[in-house]
Amino acid sequence: MSTYKIPVGPQHPAIKEAFQFNFELDGEIIVNVKPRLGFVHRGIEKGMELRSWVQGIYLSERICGICNVPHTTCYCIAVEKLHDVDVPKRAQYLRIIINELNRIHSHLLWLGVLGMELGFLTFYMYVWRDRERVMDLVELISGNRVTPSMNFIGGVVYDITPKMEMAIKKGMDYLEERTKYYKSVVLNEPTIKVRTENIGVLNKSAATDLCAVGPVARASDLKTDVRFDDPYSSYDEIPFNLVTYSYCDVFARVLVRVDEVLESINIIRECLDKLPSGPIMKKLKRTPPPGESTVRVEAPRGELMYYVKSDGKENPYRVKIRTPTLANIPAVCEMLKGYHIADIPAIIASIDPCYCCTERILFIDKARNKRWIWSHSQLRKYSLEWYENGGRR
């Protein structure tokens, strides 16, 4: 029987961001997958080279809307390594707290999205309502709901007062109760189970060979977590569990993330109890000395890496960013083979894709071998002419 091709993306309800998977189907069964990236490249790596070190923090924060905190954490640690300084202990703990709040927010968001991909809208609505609570806490600390702009080279910008501490603890109690409830829903709801169990199986050796990272790898029983493997920012002083499951399917990825939310809640409590006193920021020179540094951070989606090279000038010489979604794309292509069209949303969602993380490098329109930037009115004129000519080149 011949196969036929179906494109999913760049615009498709299952994928909120511009990304394309070209599926080769045999009936309802997927035979082959080809990913295509690059629809929303913004040229951030190049952009970093054109900006100053401090501006780089805010540019890196805008790589991804959801997991922005690990990006700034990673960038700041990399620059601090170039300076060869350690930030104050209190700042390190505050970084952990804001990172874990970000992880809870990201995982809950993902859980809701999964509910939506499975057509379970009620679940989605409930989870997202409780996600509001985390965003309220982030707002309490920093004044922003999603992008806290907390990290700075040399420490953090906002401190946590005892009053905030109380509010965070209260919020954690509430979230723990809700997350446990959602876990019981996931474990007991038959329609979620039949749609996720034994779907998108990625066994342990494939996960290792394809370099899967983060919750995807941990759901395939791979004990890997940068917070353990390569502790940064005092993560080695906080006791917590490494969550792994051996089912290797979408169901395991759900459980890993739900359990990680519970772990994060415990980490935040632990940090608040142990929170040392002292300054939250160390003043550093504006430009770091020449050198290079590589830093890995565990983002909600997995291992995030920054390579920063300085030549002693105003701007970084090179900033390389490797985001977790890019690392998981070979894995997701492998997972999809042999499953149904109906499984596509659940499987793609199961790696928690974040394409705006993955894609960072394109900027101006460069059709026809010429470089130029269009103003809005020029673009409009061009589009009108295009359609007058019947929409063809």
């Binding site: 295509r36 370099c211 493997d229 590589t294 890496m305 010489y317 090179r318 490098i361």
Partner: protein
Amino acid sequence: MTTISREEFILKELKLAFNDKILESRIAAPRYIYVTVNKETVIPLVKFLKENFGLRHIVTITGTDFGEYIELIYHLAIYGRTLMVNVKTKVPKDDPEIESIVKLLPGATLYEREVHDLLGVVFTGHPNLERLILPDDWPEGVYPLRKDWKMEGT
């Protein structure tokens, strides 16, 4: 008996196996090693790490333009991804060619394509070195991450 750290142990082993082919090496921080080699040595080095230190994970490949040459850094993670060995090598800019490591590390597929797209390094032996990131109508031979490519209006 003096105990030596894992980082020192690895460097010692590498120097034993490759002696003068290791052009430069340093321990930058705990768990971070930098090794500089010629481009011909990358494949044997990766093979050596794979056979002796359980290398399965590649974090990414960084390409940096340094004027007359392009520096490639293979960020490799060994010991269950706890220790990073950053293998540096240089390829000349007018003939940027290097052998692909996809056969040894299948996870490097997309990273090699990314570097190929943005810096124009040709990885020989790569199964499918087509466009990954740049749009389909992007002109051939223009590599945006090279330093001689300037963004308009800056």
